[in-house]
């Protein structure tokens, strides 16, 4: 049989399946096979009757062409009735078919697979098919095939149409026969295979349907195509209804649901109320006893006395090891959640960054497509508002003009020394500002510690620290901006500098604040030691009373004289309070800034404009601009504070969520009502990773103090989930000792051994080093490739735009041939001009010049184009040529050109 093209083979495949299905008459099948192509034979070969004989072959075949499997199953059922002799006839054909199929990218139906083993293999094959389908070509081909399958319309083959119909009929028959032949175990397995195959096909159709919307076709075509596919699916899905595969699928889905559902459902929901219940008692107790005593930091916004003992803070959680029937381990989960939050945040940030870097893989080289990108991607298709559109037009025009100017004056850079001086100066001033603000905060924190011991505080003195920090955040950024004008950076770079500086300011402030706080914490710890002894007996008594009345929640413990209960300062709660105060004051300052800085300003500008001596709207005060980058930075910083404070004030997270929600709507209103759009729009997407980098940095920096406290500082002895432990992480040790099997404990003991940890760390460091160098190598290779691509492009361009230059090289080569010297050289002055045109760099160099002259002489293009000889060259280096003139001796120019070795 003549081999046909791949496409032909595929089509054949379809036909073949049909053949295979037609189990009625062997003659029919074989004839058809004959008529068709080799693949057909193959399909037929798969027939059942053959099986025993074919097994070996099939094994081989499976290895060779696992993809062909899919179709195979179809046949199986039908085939089983075929006779052995036929199979023998078919074998060669089959092989051919196999080869052909292999060649074709998408294998659908070879015929075969009769054992269960084969079924599994078939699945593999199908998987491969799917993979192939993802490639565009594969997709197209597949869809074509499918079309053929479904109706054959796409290919316009009537035969196939017929076949399909037959096939369908067969299918029904087969399904019925499947049920009939249950007695034969072999047949049953086949019917299963049949099911599998059918299911596969249906799945494939479904996939086609699923990606239908991604095809760049007209809707009509899509609809037609969809109908075809759906008809196919509808026809065969019914037959599959009772298939085991479906049940298995349903089972799988169910299982995944169950598995996924589990973590959410049971544990937290059941236990959290209990936790609250048990701590609620603490709440009432603590509130009753200590409101009077602990009004140390009465914030104007927070009712500190109550809040301090609320669920907001660390001190609220008690240290009962297990709670309730489920033994909810509050201290352990507290620690785990605290640490886990950091782990999770780190993962998310880094994954996002990696994804950004991945997506932006190509655009590391910003300059490559400046204009093209500007032209094709600068319009925002979501704009539907006329005013916005106007702004966008203006901004696009501005950006184009800027790029043009940039392009034109790329090299201009006068007085670099002055600029450098100014930049150094600016940086110096900014560092002074940063240092000053840091010192100011340190000073204020110190002062606030003094204040902490006094009661006669004014409102200002109580909130001095927060006010100062907020004010610094308010005053410094504009100051930086003013200073940055000295530097004359490109706006985008300037923006990054600006953001970096503000970030440094925030961070410096935060850290100064933190260090001061640690001072305070250390003071409290010392204080605590002295208090502790004194209070132990009081504690005992207190807890005794507490447990005594614990059974009856309605009864408060007997009122004790507050002075009798000597309580530790609970530094964790104090830290938490500081962070909450900071956050709350930050919220206030932000909102007030918007109200005054934007809203009041807008109102004044708008209405005073009627009676003012200059145009307020157009000139000086104008309306405020919405500071996108500043606000993003604010968010980043805010997030950092949350990370830092969340361990000591779990409620901070809730406060922050509320803050973010409200500020979103508030700022949205402010922007729409009072702000004008930026003159120059920076796309956030471009600096995505810049912001994510800042976020990562601040995450790391906020991780440090928290982990430090967890690992080193002793927790307060009388408050919080870790009270009574020497270190917070002792909770873990305790859990390992008490709740886990002993061998795990020893295992952990080994794992925690420095002897293991140090090598592990070493290994990680080395792995990082290795990966780093690998990535560097890749980067290098990338850069090389890019360079090559660039070179290829330039080359191509040069060849087209500037044929002379490439000709030049050719001529150089040609010049090396001896007999070329006999050809008449071009007129020297002209060639000289040409050569300068081609390679201006060589002008003025005698040797090169001469060479160029002579070399370029044969270039026919060169003659007409050049009108005058180049200035420097004319008389000096070319006397001989000049004398000779255009009609000069054939050999001379050439002779001269050759001797100077090129470079």
């Amino acid at each position: 049989m003549p081999r046909k093209s791949d496409v032909g083979a595929k089509i054949e495949d379809v036909g073949i399946e049909i053949d295979g299905d037609v189990s009625d008459s062997e003659d029919d099948t074989s004839r058809r096979r004959g008529n068709r192509r080799p693949t057909a034979g193959r399909g037929g070969a798969r027939g059942r009757g053959k099986k025993p004989a074919d097994e070996d072959e099939e094994d081989e075949e499976e290895e060779e062409a696992p993809r062909n499997r899919r179709g195979a199953n179809k046949k199986k059922a039908a085939k089983s009735r075929d006779t052995d002799d036929e199979s023998e006839d078919d074998t060669p054909k089959r092989r051919q078919g196999r080869a052909a199929n292999k060649g074709a990218a998408n294998k659908k139906k070879g015929g075969k697979a009769q054992d269960n083993d084969e079924d599994s293999e078939e699945e593999k094959g199908n998987k491969r098919n799917k993979k192939g389908a993802t490639g565009k070509k594969g997709k197209e081909e597949e869809t074509k095939d499918k079309k053929g399958d479904a109706k054959g319309k796409g290919k316009g083959k009537e035969k196939e149409d017929e076949k399909d119909k037959k096939k369908k009929k067969k299918k029904k028959k087969e399904s019925s026969s499947d049920t009939d032949s249950n007695t034969n175990s072999e047949e049953e397995s086949m019917s299963e295979g049949e099911m599998e195959r059918l299911k596969e096909e249906v799945e494939e159709k479904k996939k086609v349907i699923a990606i239908m919307r991604n095809k760049p076709w007209r809707m009509k075509r899509r609809l037609v195509h969809l109908k075809e596919c759906q008809e196919f699916v509808d026809k065969f899905e019914g037959a599959l209804g009772k298939g085991k595969g479906r049940k298995f699928y349903a089972y799988k889905v169910m299982m995944t649901k169950v598995l996924m559902g589990l973590p959410y459902g049971s544990i937290p929901r059941k236990t959290v109320p209990r936790a609250e219940q048990s701590t609620a008692q603490d709440y009432s107790v603590l509130m009753d006893f200590n409101v009077a005593q602990f009004i140390t930091c009465d914030h104007f916004f927070l009712p500190q006395g109550y809040c301090k003992y609320s669920v907001l803070f660390y001190g609220y959680y008690n240290n009962q090891r297990t709670i309730g029937l489920l033994k909810f381990r509050l201290p352990l989960s507290y620690l785990m959640v605290g640490v886990g939050t950091f782990g999770y945040s780190l993962m998310v940030v880094i994954r996002t960054m990696a994804k950004n870097a991945d997506v932006g893989g190509g655009d590391g080289d910003d300059g490559e497509f400046t204009f093209a990108w500007k032209m094709f991607t600068s319009w925002d298709y979501l704009i539907g508002n006329a005013e916005t559109a106007d702004n966008k037009y203006a901004s696009i025009t501005t950006s184009f003009k800027e790029s043009i100017v940039d392009e034109q004056e790329n090299q201009k850079d006068e007085n670099i020394h002055l600029r450098r001086f100014l930049r150094v100066l600016a940086n110096f001033m900014i560092i002074c500002c940063l240092g000053g603000s840091g010192y100011l905060i340190f000073f204020v924190v110190k002062r606030s510690q003094e204040f902490a011991n006094r009661d006669d505080l004014s409102w200002y003195e109580k909130n001095e620290l927060e006010l100062i920090m907020s004010l610094l955040g308010l005053v410094c950024p504009p100051l930086f901006e003013t200073i940055a004008e000295l530097e004359e950076y490109h706006p985008r770079i300037a923006l990054k500098w600006q953001l970096g500086r503000i970030f440094a300011l925030f961070l410096g402030n935060l850290y100064t604040f933190l260090f001061a706080l640690f001072d305070e914490v250390n003071n409290k710890l010392e204080e605590e030691v002295s208090i502790r002894n004194a209070s132990i007996w009081a504690q005992k008594e207190y807890y005794a009373n507490f447990t005594l009345y614990n059974n009856d929640t309605d009864t408060t413990p007997p009122p004790m004289d507050p002075s009798d209960v000597i309580r530790g300062p609970c530094w964790e709660t104090a830290v938490g309070i500081e962070f909450v105060k900071l956050t709350v004051s930050d919220i206030q300052v932000t909102y007030l800034t918007i109200l005054i800085g934007d809203f009041a300003r807008a109102v004044i500008v708008r209405f005073l404009n009627y009676c003012w001596c200059w145009d307020l709207e157009a000139t000086y005060p104008s309306y405020g601009e919405f500071d996108i980058s500043g606000n993003v930075l604010g968010l980043v910083f805010n997030q950092g504070m949350i990370w830092m404070g969340a361990f000591y004030a779990p409620g901070l997270v809730g406060i922050n969520v509320l803050r973010l929600l409200s500020s979103m709507y508030y700022q949205c209103w402010a922007v729409m009502a009072t702000n004008v759009p930026h003159e120059r729009v920076f796309k956030a997407s471009k600096s995505n990773n810049f912001y994510m980098g800042l976020l990562l940095l601040i995450l790391f920096l906020s991780l440090l103090p928290v982990v430090y406290t967890i690992m080193t500082l002793p927790p307060s002895f009388d408050c919080g989930p870790f009270s009574g432990k020497a270190k917070m992480f002792d909770v873990i040790m305790e859990t390992i000792d008490l709740d886990l099997p002993a061998f795990l404990g020893t295992l952990m003991g080994y794992a925690a051994n420095p002897g293991l940890i140090i090598p592990a760390v070493l290994l990680m460091v080395l792995a990082i080093y290795y990966l780093n160098s690998v990535s560097e190598a890749y980067q290098h290779a990338n850069a090389e490739l890019k360079k090559k691509m660039q070179m290829a492009r330039d080359e191509e361009k040069n060849r087209r735009n500037n044929t002379e230059s490439t000709d030049q090289v050719m001529k150089d080569l040609e010049d090396l041939l001896p007999n070329r010297s006999l050809l008449p050289p071009a007129p020297p002055p002209e060639t000289g001009g040409k050569s300068t045109k081609v390679r201006p760099g060589t002008a003025g160099k005698d040797v090169n010049l001469q060479k160029d002259v002579s070399l370029s002489s044969p270039n026919p293009n060169a003659r007409g184009a050049v009108t005058r000889p180049p200035g420097p060259r004319g008389p000096g280096p070319l006397p001989g040529n000049g004398q000779q003139g255009p009609g000069g001796g054939p050999g001379r120019g050439r002779g001269r050109g050759q001797p100077p070795p090129r470079r």
């Binding site: 899509r222 109908k227 997506v359 094709f376 991607t377 006329a386 696009i396 492009r793 361009k797 087209r800």
Partner: protein
């Protein structure tokens, strides 16, 4: 079907759902919008797939497109006749491609079509000039326009034929940070 008129059969809705990025509800809403554009032309009953088209001028007046500098090109490139008359199928198609969930590749293909003003499957200089003039409302001087177009072609043209084929365009656009992020 009680008090509400049937606009599409279930099969039609399913088919549209499979062919677009929209849900049933959205498709019905789209039909509503389509109907609104020309109530006298578009029947409420679409079960028998009437052959109705709406001219470009009406489509372009939709607020979604009204401010878009390329609105005419968008509509034209989605219309089957190329002149901007949209059947409901084309209409749904257009919004499906422009919808948020459409993948980048698909968008790139249609973006190319939109920018290809003279429909020759290449973005040549005059296409770019038109694009640019629409984008800036012709506020750039002719020299600037020429410069920008030359630069753009130079940047993106890989095969050196001084016009952008789809391969060039795709290569450039898929790396653009602002393209569908």
């Amino acid at each position: 079907m009680g008090n509400k008129q049937t606009i599409f059969t279930d099969e039609q809705l399913d088919a549209y759902q499979d062919c677009t990025f929209f849900t049933r509800k959205e498709i019905l809403r789209l039909h509503g919008r389509y109907h609104e554009l020309a109530p006298h032309l578009v029947p409420m009953d679409y079960t028998n797939e009437p052959d109705v088209t709406i001219p470009l001028a009406l489509i372009v007046s939709m607020p979604e497109l009204n401010e878009n500098p390329f609105r005419n090109r968008i509509v034209e490139s989605f219309s089957e006749d190329g002149a901007g008359n949209l059947s409901f199928n084309d209409f749904v198609d257009m919004f499906s491609v422009l919808s948020e969930t459409a993948p980048r590749e698909l968008k790139a293909i249609y973006a190319f079509k939109i920018y290809d003003f003279n429909v020759d499957n290449f973005l040549c200089k005059e296409d770019l000039e038109k694009t640019l003039n629409k984008l800036t409302r012709e506020e750039l001087s002719p020299e600037e326009v020429t410069l920008v177009c030359e630069k753009a072609i130079e940047e993106a043209d890989l095969d050196g034929d001084s016009k952008l084929s789809f391969a060039d365009f795709e290569n450039m656009i898929t790396r653009a940070p602002d393209f569908l992020r």
